[in-house]
Amino acid sequence: MNYLRREISAPALLLCFCLAVSVFLSIETVSFYSWKNVVNILEANSYRMILAVGMMCVIASGAIDLSVGSIMSFSAVCMAKALKAELPVELCILIGILTGTLMGAVNGSLIYLTRINALIITLASSYMYRGLSLIVTQGIPITKLPESFRAIGCGDIFGMESGVTAAFVITALMVPLFFFMKWGSYVSSLGGNAEALKRCGVKTWFYRISVFAMMGALASVSGIIVTARLNSAEANAGLNMEMDAICAVIMGGTALHGGKGNLFGTVIAVFLMGLIRNGLTIMSVSSYYQQFITGAMLLMAVVIAEFRERKARIG
């Protein structure tokens, strides 16, 4: 019973939040309650969802990754360069994903080898990767990508952009990987007690590096989706995306100290933030309010979670 309460409560709260916002918007506006608008919300949040799912694993492992926005940008730039060199589209996409994976693995290796806080390492690498993007592009967006690439990156699947399907497939794959397989429990244990895990004879280096490599790969996938939608790879892409992702993960009930991840909560939190963005646009409310509301909700979510946890500890 206790277990259920802990696992379900954060997403349930957010879900009610989502419902309240949806009901309010359906009553207040004409355009909200329509299939088209649902598609809009899904499309606008597909790449945020992919990032947040990866970030959940990283945070559950007791680390954090501030470089995902920069990885998005640099892997997309590498892919766009390859596309411009007229290599086969599938190969270009592979290049993009491999670049992202490699950058993530570099993050993970540095953190494992130096034992310096992930916050510092990824802060440094986020500047370096963003810098690489700027150096390669010279600040000029790479545009007019081939139509065959855009057909893959944002083509039509089930009546909506392919990014939505990608996001749901990735999330679905994460369920067995994170909750029912060795990889997931070891990654979580890294956040719980890395020393104990090591003494059990587990190769912690593998899990530390692989969780960051996976984050890098997911960041590059979401970079590919953004690039295809905008038909442009640019150095400024993905600016502040890492903060949105971290915000969704924490709001969704994953604790910053790691040890445990809440996938369902993360997904719901991404959509809650998306709903609010969409609602503000539909109601023509200035974007000034958006940041304030997001911040207030994050604060509320963590305060409620903290009190619940404290209560659970005491009795």
């Binding site: 019973m1 309460r5 409560s9 709260l13 009610c16 939040f17 309240a20 916002v21 309010f24 004409v30 355009s31 329509s34 088209k36 608008n37 809009n40 499309e43 606008a44 790449y47 010279q138 600040g139 000029i140 967006p141 545009t143 007019k144 139509e147 944002c154 953004v226 939608r229 905008l230 038909n231 442009s232 640019e234 400024n236 892409a237 600016l239 502040n240 963005r277 969409n278 609602g279 503000l280 646009t281 539909i282 109601m283 023509s284 409310v285 200035s286 974007s287 000034y288 309010y289 958006q290 940041q291 509301i293 207030a296 909700m297 509320m300 409620i304 209560k311």
Partner: protein, 374 residues
């Protein structure tokens, strides 16, 4: 079990509180937005009163507005006397940049004046191309008849424009250009374009500079961000005109990314390398004012400095004489013209060619007669 029930009850209560507070927050946001609108109206009214007062004294400004109106009428025709119901949306670049904040106010004032309801929207932060597209994608499915877009870069709004095309929403491109080639390739089109001819801005400055430097000399350009349309256009207009006369040597074109401190350092370096430098054209006023500061710090006098945008600070510098001139246009008339085009499109008219906004060079000679120009 009792404990569990208590927890559930408590959770429901918190939830109730939270759920209630979320919508009320948004309602509050809405009322506040209405209030801001009211404030803006009041401001516009006072501004209009001030403008009237100024127009009474400044014939130059009156003349400028008259020229402007006749030039616009040549291009887009007269505003229809009465027109059907219409709802217009505008997507601007950012509301954290003073230029676009002012444009938003101008849009709303113009909407009030012409009797056209208009909503002005934007992405979250400047440079966030993806969230600007999300805003347009959402607006395309709403009940707007016409949407006026100012994209962050040439391609980021293209999927949204195509969606507008499919939904029968007319699209006007104002200011920074949509990459029409890429748009065409993707299967979309613009219904009208109103913009500033950036090359003409550079050309007008070059002509004024050449007039003031009859003996020729060395000149330089401080450009904005490499690849940005405004910067490239202004630089090209200026250099083409300067290069047409052998008396003038263009010694440097430096990209300073619209940044004051980069422009400051670049100016210092330039004046050390070319002590005979006679004039600098800066692609915006922020960089021009930094150049003025740098020359002041070096104790150099007599270099002509031009900017673009005619900001309040530039106006003060031109009045003082530290800056020579700045290219200007009326944001109020710009947005009014765009709204008029929106109404005409909705009435079934079409615009074959791009509409260009008439430009004015404010310089040390005419700055004092331009009170009330905005």
């Amino acid at each position: 079990m009792k404990k569990f029930l208590a927890v559930i009850l408590a959770a429901t209560m918190t939830l109730g509180l939270v759920a209630c507070s979320a919508p009320s927050e948004e309602t509050k946001a809405q009322t506040e937005a209405v209030q801001t609108e009211a404030d803006t109206e009041a401001e516009t009214e006072t501004a209009e009163a001030a403008e009237e007062a100024a127009e009474a004294v400044s014939d130059t400004v009156k003349q400028l507005y008259a020229d402007f109106d006749s030039a616009m009428e040549d291009q887009i025709g007269k505003m229809p006397e009465d027109f059907g119901e219409i709802k217009v949306g505008a997507v601007v670049i950012s509301l954290t940049n003073p230029f676009w904040v002012n444009m938003k106010d101008c849009y709303e004032a113009a909407g009030e004046k012409l009797g056209v309801p208009i909503d002005v929207q934007t992405g979250t932060t400047e440079g966030d191309t993806a969230s600007q597209l999300d805003v347009l994608m959402t607006m395309a499915d709403m009940d707007y008849d016409v949407i006026i877009v100012s994209p962050i870069d040439g391609t980021n709004l293209i999927p949204g424009i195509i969606k507008c095309n499919e939904n029968g929403v007319k699209v006007i491109n104002l200011g920074p250009g949509v990459d029409t080639e890429a748009l065409k390739e993707a299967g979309g089109y613009l219904d009208a374009t109103i913009t500033v001819d950036f090359a003409e801005q550079g050309q007008t400055v070059a002509e004024d500079m050449m007039e003031r430097l009859p003996d020729g000399g060395q000149v330089a350009v401080l450009a904005g961000l490499a690849g940005a349309g405004q910067s490239e256009g202004r630089t090209k207009g200026f250099t083409d005109t300067i290069n047409s006369d052998d008396k003038y040597q263009l010694v440097a074109v430096q990209n300073c990314d619209w940044d004051a401190s980069l422009a400051y350092d670049a100016t210092k370096a330039l004046i050390t390398e070319y002590p005979e430098l006679k004039g600098i054209f800066c692609c915006n006023d922020v960089m021009a004012l930094a150049a003025v500061e740098a020359l002041g710090a070096e104790g150099v006098e007599g270099v002509l400095i031009y900017g673009v945008d005619f900001t309040d600070d530039a106006k003060a510098a031109i009045t003082e004489g530290t800056m020579t001139g700045s290219m200007s246009y009326s944001s109020a008339r710009y947005t009014e013209a765009a709204l008029q085009m929106a109404v005409m499109l909705n009435e079934g008219e079409s615009f074959e060619s791009n509409v260009y906004l008439p430009l004015t060079l404010v310089n040390v000679d005419n700055v004092n007669s331009l009170e009330g120009w905005k």
